[in-house]
Amino acid sequence: MKNFLKFFLIILVFCLKISFISAAEQTEKLLNPGWGFKGFFGKFDRGSLQRGYQVYTEVCAACHSIKYLSYRNLSETGGPEFTEDQVKAIASQFEVTDGPNDDGEMFTRPARPADNFVSPYPNEKAAIAANGGAYPPDMSVLVKARKGGADYIYSLLLGYEDPPSGLSLDDGVYYNKYMAGNKIKMSNPLSEGLIEYGDGTSATPEQMANDVTTFLAWAAEPHLEARHKMGFRAIIYLIILTILVYFSMKKIWSRVESKV
């Protein structure tokens, strides 16, 4: 009988091993620069968020929408925390369609902080048509929508390579070692000194990838800091209460001659 149990355990371990091996074969190990927003006290780096917003607007926003965010989110606590005046200025650079007015006509006006981010294309079909048949995914929850999360986005941005010899790529298709199937329709978006950071940080591809991934991680999870803070308090509270209840229980059960 014991042997039978062993047999099952061996099969289980064997399966686990196989799956790890095959998983390793399929994809490259993702890069992880060490994210400050992970862990019990994880917080976003404000400077990185603000730089990441700059990378997003200057590089990504030409094709990728981020439609579930509002401009006002940029000044909310736990985010990039721009000042409200800065956010007003940012929003006013965009035109939104509003209306109908009293004559029944739609009109455009400068965006206000309460408006959602303006998308680069009017709809998904237009985005696909303008990008060679590939839809540039909306970035609002992108970090949560990809296996590997922030690590994956960061790795993908730095994963462009020359294709191995013998692999020919069609026009508008690029080789990326972290993309499933290695073929991606987005050209390498980051290059040395592509943008000029307002705070003087030097714009290396690693720096830009790090900043924009941090920004996207916040965009996907804007209440992350509040969640970590509340979670820490909740767990400490539960531990203390559990200890108290344990002693209460011991007291109560001491009335009967039986162990709890």
């Binding site: 965010l69 989110n73 990809r146 979670g231 767990i235 531990i239 209840v245 009967v256 709890v260």
Partner: protein, 419 residues
């Protein structure tokens, strides 16, 4: 039920209780004699009650902000996560609450399997429990459809297509389920309606489950019948209440860890992509708690037989009290059953793991062996064990570990009464 008639002390209490005996009920619940040797595996009943109440409350709140429409569902969930006050907290509690609910219910079920809690005279409790379990799976499946992400959409498509295996009527049934020719807005709205209904059905069944439990009283780790109330029992309040609270708090620490630090780890990344009827994700997997059944479904090469096998795996549990022919309840006194019990646990874990892997090669082979063993356990091993197994001697009572030397718990009871 308690043997003595409860009479409220105050005049008003008596007046009220004569008309609506709610105080009698409260008295019954607090004084309910419970075996004093219950271990921590017995606290999951209270934990499950907590889970159900939590799911109902958070679900009610989410329904205040959620919009059940194919065009708006995904963005309304994002609205909850971003704009609603504490919306992220409530949604993460609800989503992870479903997983915690199933974790607790699996422990509860496997506890019943180990200690033979499904055996006479507790068959009805067990069957009600299985009905609750089946409804839970339906509620969880429909709830997972509501965010209208890719996994929602394709999970709904795959599961509803199971019914197309039914001969002759299959196609009309799926069309009827969908309200169209594919999963679409009508499917979403009806799933929302049913997802809202089912928890209240579960609540009703839980009341019956507890009612049926209070007729014979709790089983206990040594699985013998005990006299109630006696030296072997304690009153439910405060002894069991405080113990349940203690266990619940530990459970809550685990729960809180998921909600606050890994809220998406039990979900699938693809469900943060809005549903797209044109593109199927590369690898469709159900939520972890449905994986063993999913593995059974896939391990049968025929469509109809696969569906039948999956439902049979579930309904075989309903008739378990009649498949297990042994008179002894607790595995403690059944050395062979104890072995096979752990094989079954391992088998279900293996099935769950295979359900998450692609259905090919070695995975498929192992899943097939595990599926065969699952049915072997219930259909062959359990009935045979009942007559062949040499059981250990069972004590007469909890307080006095005297061995009665009988293989039958009820016979032991009779002998005790004669003494």
């Amino acid at each position: 039920m308690s043997d003595h008639e409860y009479i409220p002390k105050s005049k008003l209490g008596k007046w009220f209780n004569d008309r609506l005996p709610i105080l009698t009920l409260a008295n019954h619940l607090t004084e309910y004699p419970t075996p004093k040797n219950l271990n921590y595996w017995w606290t999951f009943g209270a934990i499950l009650t907590f889970c159900l109440v939590t799911q109902i409350i958070t679900g009610l709140i989410l329904a205040m902000h959620y919009v059940a429409h194919a065009d708006l569902a995904f963005s309304s969930v994002e609205h909850i996560m971003r704009n609603v006050n504490y919306g992220w907290l409530i949604r993460y509690v609800h989503a992870n609450g479903a997983s915690m609910f199933f974790l607790a219910v699996y422990i509860h079920i496997f506890r019943a399997l180990y200690y033979g809690s499904y055996k006479s005279p507790r068959e009805i409790i067990w069957i009600l429990g299985m009905m609750i379990y089946i409804l839970m799976m339906m509620a969880a499946f429909m709830g997972y459809v509501l965010p209208w992400g890719q996994m929602s959409f394709w999970g709904a498509t795959v599961i509803t297509n199971l019914f197309s295996a039914i001969p002759f009527f299959g196609e009309s049934i799926t069309t009827w389920l969908w309200g169209g020719y594919a999963v679409d807005n009508p499917t979403l709205t009806r799933f929302f309606s049913l997802h809202y209904l089912i928890p209240f059905l579960i609540l009703g069944l839980v009341v019956l489950h507890i009612w049926a439990l209070h007729v014979p009283g709790n089983n206990n780790p040594i699985g013998i019948d005990i006299k109630k109330p006696s030296n072997d029992t304690v009153s439910f309040h405060p002894y069991i209440v405080i113990k349940d609270i203690f266990a619940l708090l530990i459970f809550l620490i685990v729960f809180a860890f998921f909600v606050f630090y890994s809220p998406n780890i039990l979900g699938h990344a693809d469900n943060y992509i809005e549903a797209n009827p044109m593109v199927t994700p590369a690898h469709i997997v159900p939520e972890w708690y449905l994986l063993p059944f999913y593995a059974i479904l896939r391990s049968v090469p025929d469509k109809l037989l696969g569906v039948i096998a999956m439902f049979a795996a579930l309904f075989i549990l309903v008739i378990l009290p009649w498949l297990d022919t042994s008179k002894i309840r607790s595995a403690i006194f059944r050395p062979l059953y104890k072995q096979f019990y752990w094989f079954l646990v391992a088998d279900v874990l293996i099935l769950g793991y295979m359900g998450a892997m692609p259905a090919e090669g070695i995975y498929l082979l192992v899943a097939r062996v595990a599926t065969a063993y699952y049915f072997l356990h219930f259909l062959i091993i359990l009935p045979v064990l009942g007559s062949k197994e040499k059981t250990l001697e069972v004590p007469l009572s909890i307080t006095e570990p005297v061995l009665g030397g009988s293989a039958s718990a009820s016979m032991t009871r009779n002998r005790l009464d004669k003494i």
